[in-house]
Symmetry: C2
Subunit: 311 residues, 2 copies
Amino acid sequence: MSEYSIGLDLGGTNLRAAAIDTQGRMLDKVSGSTNYSEGRQALVDDMVNSIAHLRKNIGADGLTGIGVVVPGFIHLKEGVIANCNNIACLENFPIRDEIEKRLSARVILENDANAAALGEKWMGAGRDVDDLVLLTLGTGIGGGIISRGQVLHGFLGMAGELGHITVVPNGNPCGCGNRGCVEKHASAQAISAMARLAGLGDVTSEQVHRMAVGGNEKAQEVFAAMGQALGIALAMLINTFNFPLYLLSGGVLAAWDQFAPPMLEEVRRRSFTFRHSHTRIEQATLGNEAGLFGAAYLPYRRSDALAQAAR
Amino acid sequence: MSEYSIGLDLGGTNLRAAAIDTQGRMLDKVSGSTNYSEGRQALVDDMVNSIAHLRKNIGADGLTGIGVVVPGFIHLKEGVIANCNNIACLENFPIRDEIEKRLSARVILENDANAAALGEKWMGAGRDVDDLVLLTLGTGIGGGIISRGQVLHGFLGMAGELGHITVVPNGNPCGCGNRGCVEKHASAQAISAMARLAGLGDVTSEQVHRMAVGGNEKAQEVFAAMGQALGIALAMLINTFNFPLYLLSGGVLAAWDQFAPPMLEEVRRRSFTFRHSHTRIEQATLGNEAGLFGAAYLPYRRSDALAQAAR
């Protein structure tokens, strides 16, 4: 039996799990909607059952390990989600230990954006590089940093909170306590809010995109502002890391044609490094399966010190 | 004979070189002023002669290698300074190869702020950690990032240009092409400029500091603005890296009592990670010898991939 791992990605609306072999081939997959209203017990049951189902189907013999991906700030060593706006019932709960106990197997925990960055590095747009930064543009903005092939965790596992880069010093207030976080000026939520302020009514970011494509100047202005905000954050990241590749993913990516030109103009203006090196800013390619691939890749890593310590 | 290396630090006003052993003991040192007006040839002569003098004094037998530290954006692989506002005559000149040829010895080149960060990690305030960020607050602001004990170089060696983090989107113009770089809002130069704008006349940052200590409210306001700008950049770095230690060095450090309180307040407000982890923001301890120690440490490194490739 060939070696494989099981990855589970707990998202805001979906729970996905897959058995993936060392070559990145998906052997089996289960998915379902997440019902947070039924509480923590039901949620953990769903997670455990999904993994157990795959392990039974493929066979426990070849299983290298299990990777579990959750949103929020994670204390890696403790295996605890410190702060999770989307899934309040999991906050300060020892999720890793609980799943390990119920499966009698070791589990590696990772943050969703870190895992997506790792997935893109392993099997997506980042296959050819060792260093990249990923920004996930969804309801909020997440970030993952891959340095020398490994997730950059920081000393507690809280690195890569790139949605909270300040792009407007006295801009929109954020739940994190800051003002002007890029997440509050360039996410799907921010696009909707700007559109409403511009008099476009109660619209989703997808609707704003369609308006912009149709020639609505207010909608186009929203994407100009959003692209500029994102450009400020990207320029900062490029000046800080001088990595070869910066990836964008998430639902807002559909509006690339609208926001990318002002974003790139802003980056060009604000980053000497961008202008003087071959730095790529590209769309991620794994879509919403990046986290799943990243989750499955977690047990395959060999030399990630904090991940090892966490295990 | 015990093993030693020679480090040379070419600063804006001083050229320093030292022979330092593996334990960080300084065996010998030479220093002098840099006279850029005499042109590149004289400058390179000074550098080569300083190193040759030390090598002759201590003996070539125990010499592990030579590290040379220069200001500016450096293309590490090519050993060329791409951009150097302070020393225009060295721009696009193959400084490393020239010194190597004249000394018949291998030379490792590094950027000044990176070297200072490495020096602090080796023998200064960062001895107890593997990950740190250093900001040098001088005429401008430089940055160095140590990740897993090594300088984070990026793919061309241009990482750590932290003086060009945007803290005021439409703030003061910078030579790099950006506006509102932290260097233009929190350096010695910025302190002078703000003081002048506040009606304090043509004063140095040291004079503004003395005025602030003496109770001058305008001068205190300058340091409040400077500290806040620095706090925005630090919060961004903390959210990005989640490292245990952030060091400040350089001449502006003398005004710590004035700028640190507003800086820390800003960081606290803007960084969830800072509020929820034991993150230290401290003064560097090696002063203007950090770069010299970093230069001497360069040949002692074993596993820095780009540095190795560059060698």
